[in-house]
Symmetry: D2
Subunit: 364 residues, 4 copies
């Protein structure tokens, strides 16, 4: 079903933006993994609204772990995690129920569900559902860390401001989350903050690009043809609202290169087979090759803006002007960083389990 | 399993590059659809090797329809299609079995399968398996055509040569397959041919970009969150060898735009709700919005080149030089066009069936 | 994953017997269906513990509907339902953690999960998880009722007491749930109650047989070969703890019959094709044939009995005597009736959606 | 999709009774397993038609291995196996296309597919498709044998003749396939042969019961709740045409027993935990417990009989008499033995892979 993702490690999301709660059920976690609510909370806090320059909705997003763990360890059963919706005001949506917001799922969902979908705050199409991805990702990250695998994610572009040079892994690891815009380049981070303040003042928004790197993956992870590493990661990543593009390794740049320059030649270093370059982004034939897995995600500008936009009243089929109220994130790439990280963790864990690289029980 | 794709309409691929045959089993086709071997052959011919500037392997690729149709119509059961491998010479691969070709799956597959994988011509990692995608896609296209849906696909970039202006749908439909490089822009098509001839002479290769448009889709196709239209299409497209990037609508360009410019405002035309622009590529909230579905696929340069490259002998762990023999496509984007088209057709059909937009039986 | 069942209509269960809660997430319910907590509570009450001669655990089993409905109607998203565990005392299980109860999953789960499974009350192997089946089934029943489909379930055997004659549908519908042992034959119901009282006094238990009938099914429901009606129903039913046998129509009796007597001949009545007999239990070739779907489920005696039984201490590998404390159902077939009913409803709904007999939206 | 079964080890069937071929694609087989056409042929021969007292159709059923193996070993890809249909005469079916045979899928398939299904010999509803189960099972058996697991299957009842006493494992292994009716009890085997000759002379048929035992299974195989061992086996077994009942261990007899007699007490023998009795059929909580897994399958009488039966002409909706021509198996339980064995092997292999008890590569 479309609310769940993963085959051997699976997260099923539920909830609506203005309903009682959002959450996730995670199946396939090995038994014996140490897991507390704190482990999940720590990841959830990274996407919590109400931080610098993000949405005005004030949610504490406190997680409750309802099942799947006993005595501080997973028990092999489904792990259910719940976050209550606390700061909900649906009045604007009640008033504009039949006037779809441009750039949102309002119109397409209205047609698909003949109006029975939850129209308040986007219902289950809301970005709020990505809390479940972060919660599921928190568990996946814990599993991957038992294998030494690290996932580093940060913002490399906001609007016109791009990180020009390759940032070192250590720098990303250390600075990404201390930057208010999740950009590990301190200089660019400052410019991005200024840009977002300007946009907020103008009731406008912009997009961004997130880069993700996965380190220390074994060779051969991914399944041939339809469950290639790229296939699964892109499937998962495009499930995050506002994502419109993805590229692995040198991505679209490869289309203009020559084979003699694009092929990553093999070499041996300290007894290990590596490639001299990493244009492939760590993936050959859909399988990991032992180099860092690298991809970039293109995020569109926040659709909810305070400026008047043209829409249509679905009852009268007449055109109507709409101005989305409330304060919204001027760039959702910022809060999408832990979501991309969580989603990637889920994908990788799923493929690691499938490759029998994660045992059914962990711990002693 | 990873050799099959689709939930309600599913293609399972089988075969190896140098084995007896390649083929596909297609499940979920409505009963009653008119279907002959000719319908499938017509699509297969579009990717047949041995055409202008493509691989030297001479395959007639004649399809045999083994099951799933009776009296010229589908019977509701699995449709099995088979293409024999005829022009196979594995001697080069026997000789270089332990020296992986850069840019190929040789190394990663060797590790994953401890050397038991079929090393001849890439085994089931070979692009030859995409014949099954084209065969499955041929059926999907026939189903979609009963709903008036059209899929237009063509090459918009080869190496440094890019189609600058937006080509009209009619032009793509008419000229894509009459161009030897599948580019509907006649001027650029000529330049691309010249470029490929130059590369072939230099024993080098290049990449390209394919654009795909799906017309006449109903509103609301796609499933929320994890089976969004973008999720499924990207999942399928990244299963095609050499694909390294995908973007929907304005794609990566959106990351630099403002919300006020990126949002597609709604309007009413002849009683139908449309958007004034199509930056979203016809998808909102993962569901089709009635506008043309548009995406671009980035393809890396052909990995097999006649130039010497550095590799490693897996037995000795010593570095070794490798020169891939035989003539290879200087740009696989060209032959990937019908594959992208077939894969897209499979994705769309799957989501159309799921939305109950395709009946279980067709015909009268 | 093994905690979810169904393809187009899917229930995922979660929770543990002595954890915080048990519940279910249901995906694939059409949008627009009227649904309240009361609808679910009504079904849950049929399996609530603490009724006549059932387990001593006192649970109110009040359901909370956390997602999937807005304004009293389903919204097309996952429906999350939760029942808190209130009356939990794990002290006995703490004490006997390493001495598996005969007839329970204690031993097999201990080995599978290396002791990390929740050992209190059977963890997620507990019959308490079937509350989720009943909750999911409540939704399925509502969907099926929109198509006029009815599911009648009752007890036809407890220990040595069997319902001899065929009970009429109307009688089952009217009396099954008013009997304390869910037996629509009033005379036998009385004998069964007496038998259970006797067993309870002797600290022993017995098994039973449940019969299920599904009325008003359209012809052709079920999918060929592996998702036949019998395949899916048996798959679901064997997921209920203590079920050890199932037979459709005349079942095992058919093995001793002749073809000339077993074949159900076709006839026409009031313009409809029927069969004169119903040895097939309403299923031909795995598809419904328009006759009542009939099957019987064999349930083993309650494993938890107050008598001393021999077991093994898993730490010392020495044999050890065990006496399960607390009052337990002398025959779990009684409380399994609504579970069989719910499970069957889920199976039928799933196959009905797959046959496109249930629209994606319901209501006006 | 409903033509494939298994999650980690999966067989997809294709073909029609009177089409060009029947076959199977098997996914999930470990790479490196020694596999020849002879391995598969050996199993196929056990169900070949034209043996004593079985169907008059003369098929050699020679298997062709089309993909998935190289140099005598599996390569990790899909294994495609094909058997041509040679002795096909569809004239009777052409003549009686609109008069459904009682006890067959003719009527239900006609309604489901609005007449577009292949009506010749039952199309893909034919028992001939079970050749694919036997082929897939042949591979599964080879995998299981690497773990020391054995599957013993034989007929324990034909019509009124039942094997009364428990036959030893060694006897089943040695004699099942040397008996023309696959019954390891020599005395009963003779009586069964006589009974079938009598039935054949009377143009009638009968049913039977098959018993299956799986030896040497590790503890803990099976997945909690919905993929319990019983759930998966019954799902698979009910996919075999003519199966109408299944019971595990003491099965329906348990419904009349007391808990104190039905519970299998634990004991220790030679350092291993066993149960004193095996009423549970080797399964506790849906997981194997290390005892022999035992179940019995009830098969209905062959539906195709030479006697006149009443049916309905689907064009005129008038009742019509039908007499099925040709010689048919008087009891299909006989030829179903290798099918039950194959199906069981597939189920067990799937659950063994899922439990990570089968590595991704086999061999050295």
């Amino acid at each position: 079903m479309s609310f769940g993702f993963g085959r051997d490690f699976r997260a099923t999301l539920f909830g609506e933006s203005h309903g009682k709660a959002v959450g996730a059920v995670v199946e396939g976690c090995p038994a014996g993994l140490q897991l507390t609510e704190g482990d999940i909370q720590q990841e959830l806090d990274k996407r919590r609204p109400g931080q610098v320059l993000t949405t005005g909705r004030r949610e504490r997003d406190l997680v409750r772990l309802l099942s799947g763990a006993v005595n501080g360890r997973t028990d092999g059963g489904p792990i259910t995690m719940l976050v209550a919706n606390e700061d909900v005001d649906s009045s604007w949506y009640e008033k504009h129920r039949y006037i779809p917001r441009p750039g949102h799922a309002d119109y397409t969902a209205f047609i698909k569900y003949r109006g029975f979908n939850d129209y308040r705050g986007g219902g289950f199409f809301s970005g709020r559902l990505t809390a479940g991805i972060v919660m599921g990702g928190a568990i996946a990250k814990k599993i991957l860390s038992t294998q030494g695998i690290k996932i580093l994610t940060h913002v490399v572009q906001i609007g016109g401001i791009k990180v020009g040079t390759q940032i070192k892994d250590e720098q990303v690891e250390e600075f990404a989350y201390s930057s208010p815009v999740r950009c590990a380049d301190k200089g660019k981070s400052g410019l991005m903050v200024a840009e977002l303040e300007r946009l907020a003042a103008e009731h406008d928004s912009t997009g961004g690009v997130i880069e993700c790197r996965v380190l220390n993956l074994p060779v051969g992870i991914g399944e041939p043809i339809f469950d290639s590493m790229e296939s699964l990661i892109s499937h998962g990543i495009f499930s995050i609202p506002a994502v419109k593009a993805i590229e692995f390794g040198s991505g679209f740049r490869l289309s203009g290169m020559r084979g003699s320059g694009a092929n990553d030649e093999f070499c041996v270093k300290e007894g290990k087979i590596l490639t001299k370059t990493n244009n492939s982004g760590g993936i050959l034939g859909g399988l990991t090759n032992g180099m860092p897995l690298v991809f970039r995600v293109g995020i569109k500008p926040t659709s909810s803006i305070g400026r008047p936009q043209q829409s249509v009243d679905l009852r009268t089929m007449k055109e109507a002007e709409l101005r989305v109220e409330g304060r919204h994130d001027p760039c959702i790439a910022v809060r999408a960083v832990p979501v991309v990280e969580g989603m990637t963790s889920i994908c990788i864990t799923d493929l690691m389990v499938r490759a029998q690289m994660i045992p059914r029980t962990i711990g002693d």
